[in-house]
């Protein structure tokens, strides 16, 4: 029999016992719905997690350090590779070169220093870090009060919550650390801070290097010479951020943040400056580390390798994503198994329905065989009926699962909103899942149809036609 005929006959037969077949199909729908619900929860959670991680910049950032630096982690690249003395300095040309590597979005120096900030004429010593403008999209600044820096060179500052508390003389009480950022922002936003810092100023010899200098070593030494001057800078408080100062991400591990270009222009003494003084080859600033943002987390490895080839140490949290993906894969499998249980029950329903149908349509099967239907025709007809129930159940099930998901998502978001959290989309039904669910339901129903179809095909027409 041809497939259109088969489908037509199957649908006709399904319509004949409408209630029973509808109930069976409903059973499949519920099974598929539970599978879709479980898997879309898993996928949604995974998407949410990776969205957050990508936003956080943890997984698209490579931290680059010089091999000259004291980073004795004993890693492979440190033991092989060039000796510290021969390796490159992490200076401005190196940064520019890294920024021009393929797949690199930006390379920004990690500028951080400890210095004194005065507010209300009271000194506060703290760690200050410079932020590139790309940090604006970082989710760490999502709950921020106020605004991000108006420009890369603006004399503005963003404070970390605990530092804001310190400025206002509030002592954070242990346990009840849920001080509202908005309460801190009101008295502080728009106010001015004075930062006192040590500026690295080019020395008089460096300013006018002798053109007829014979000794290149002398020259390099001259270039490295500088003086340190105490400076003051007025800074306007534009934002209070609820950041975790102990977090893993490099640039946000501080309590006060400056725009990157402003910080660069200040030429604040860096800890590395002291070390570089004896061997610097240029008068360019030397960075202790550079953060490299990659276009896509999947390109991390390529970029890391390219930077390593340049002779620097690199570090990224790529391995962490790997185990995270593994975790979600396992989670999906478990959710899938639980979701499939209902479908397994539904498949028993298909077997039951079709076996009943054979008993009821015994005579009909006998007639069909008598007028020339082969075993294969009868078998295919029952398969088609099972398959049609599977596909219909699959489609309804996906719709049902999607609806359930939307309802739960909505409910959860109402709850989250009441608790003061931003809404989340932790439910995702990608088209791939829709196709998979329908095909899976189809496959399961065909497997369920195996036994009934085989039984119907083997029916002896003489026996089937004998009794009225």
């Amino acid at each position: 029999m041809k497939i259109p005929d088969l489908t037509e006959l199957a649908l006709r037969n399904l319509r004949e016992s409408l209630l029973r077949n509808s109930l069976t199909t409903l059973g499949i729908s519920v099974g598929v719905a539970s599978l879709v619900a479980m898997l879309s929860l898993g996928i949604g959670l995974q998407q949410m997690a990776s969205r957050r991680l990508v936003k956080s910049g943890l997984f698209d950032t490579v931290v680059v350090t010089s091999r000259r630096d004291l980073r004795g982690m004993g890693r492979e690249e440190e033991r092989t590779g060039p000796t510290p003395g021969e390796s490159r300095v992490l200076d401005e040309p190196a940064r520019a070169e890294i920024e021009h590597l393929p797949n690199v979005l930006e390379a920004y120096p990690d500028i951080r220093f400890i210095t004194e900030l005065r507010y209300d004429d009271k000194p506060h010593l703290t760690m200050i870090s410079a932020l590139p403008s790309s940090a604006k999209s970082n989710d760490a600044f999502e709950g921020m009060q106020g605004a991000f820096f108006s420009s890369e060179t603006a004399a503005e500052v963003i404070l970390q919550k605990t530092f804001a508390e310190e400025l206002l003389g509030k002592t954070p009480s242990r346990g009840v650390d849920e001080t509202n950022v908005a309460d801190l922002a009101k008295p502080l936003l728009g106010k001015e801070l004075t930062m006192r810092y040590a500026q690295r100023s080019t020395g008089p010899t460096a300013q006018s290097p002798s053109p007829d200098a014979i000794n290149p070593l002398d020259n390099s030494l001259a270039a490295a010479a500088y003086s340190v001057v105490s400076r003051e800078q007025k800074l306007k408080i534009v934002g209070i951020a609820d950041l975790d100062p102990e977090s893993m991400r490099g640039p946000t591990r501080a309590r006060v943040f400056l725009p990157l270009k402003l910080a660069e222009g200040l030429h604040v003494m860096q800890p590395t400056d002291l070390r570089e003084i004896s061997r610097a080859a240029s008068d360019q600033p030397v960075y202790s580390s550079i953060g490299v943002r990659v276009k896509n987390p999947s390109q991390i490895q390529v970029v890391e390798d390219a930077i390593k080839k340049m002779g620097f140490n690199t570090f990224s949290i790529l391995d962490a994503t790997r185990s995270l993906r593994q975790f979600f894969a396992v989670l999906d499998v478990f959710l899938g198994i639980f979701g499939s249980l209902a479908l397994a029950v539904a498949s028993i329903g298909i077997v039951n329905t079709l076996v009943m149908a054979i008993l009821e349509r015994r005579r009909e099967i006998g007639i069909m065989k008598a007028i020339g239907a082969s075993d294969g025709d009868v078998k295919k007809l029952f398969f088609a009926e099972a398959g049609a129930m599977g596909i219909l159940g699959g489609i309804f099930g996906v719709a049902l699962g999607w609806t359930i998901g939307q309802a739960i998502n909505l409910g959860t978001n109402i709850y989250l909103k009441r608790q003061g959290f931003p809404p989340e989309h932790f439910w995702a039904v990608p088209w791939g899942l829709v196709a998979f669910a329908v095909l899976f339901a189809f496959g399961v129903s065909l497997v369920s149809g195996l036994y009934p179809a085989g039984r119907a095909a083997k029916l002896d027409p003489v026996q089937a036609l004998r009794y009225e």
Partner: protein, 253 residues
Amino acid sequence: MTTAPVVPVAQGTVAIRSENLCRHYRMGETLIRAVDGVSLEIRAGEFVALLGSSGSGKSSVLNLIAGLDRPTSGSVVIQDRDLAKLSREELAKYRLHVVGMVFQSFNLIASMTLAENVELPLRFAEVDRSKRDALAQSALERVGLGARMHHRPSELSGGEQQRAALARALINRPRLLLADEPTGNLDSHTGTEIMEMVREFNQQLGMTVVMVTHERALAERYAQRMIFLADGKLIDDRRNGDRDSIPKSGGQS
């Protein structure tokens, strides 16, 4: 009278030959010999009645000829093929293309309209839909049911249902028409109507007809030859109107 072409039949060639045909089955402890060593020969274009009381094995013989059942031993040769040696698939093909069957209880599928019932064999034969509709219509017109195509069997009288069953049996233009008590559920008037149609098919289309019946009068009126069975054995075989039995066929003709 109709558009259906007459099937060319070489009159006189052997259409069905069985040799020592047996069909035994067990029912509990006892062995039932439904068909027990039946040898017969039916020529192409013959109208043969199988007569006997109930349990005589006449229906069993018909089922063996129809390829619905397989012999325990012996052979049924139709169109040079021994049905006993065909696979299940080949038997289905044989039933589809060589045999048309009508039954006492009509055996139409209740959920389908007459047209759908009649075209069902064409579906199994994978005939195109466009051709199917035309063939079903002409077959139904031939049995006088052109106006009832879209009715369900339950909306029809017994005679009409049997006529529809005849239309279905004809649709694949088979060589053999096998009828199992075709008038058993009909009053004598409609029974006659049906038998006239069967005779028409036999004479105009040249179909070989084998009809099972227990009504001797009916057989005498329509059949050219009567074969009597009792306890699964062939007990008499005679031409209609002849006094003498045809000598048992043992291969000679």
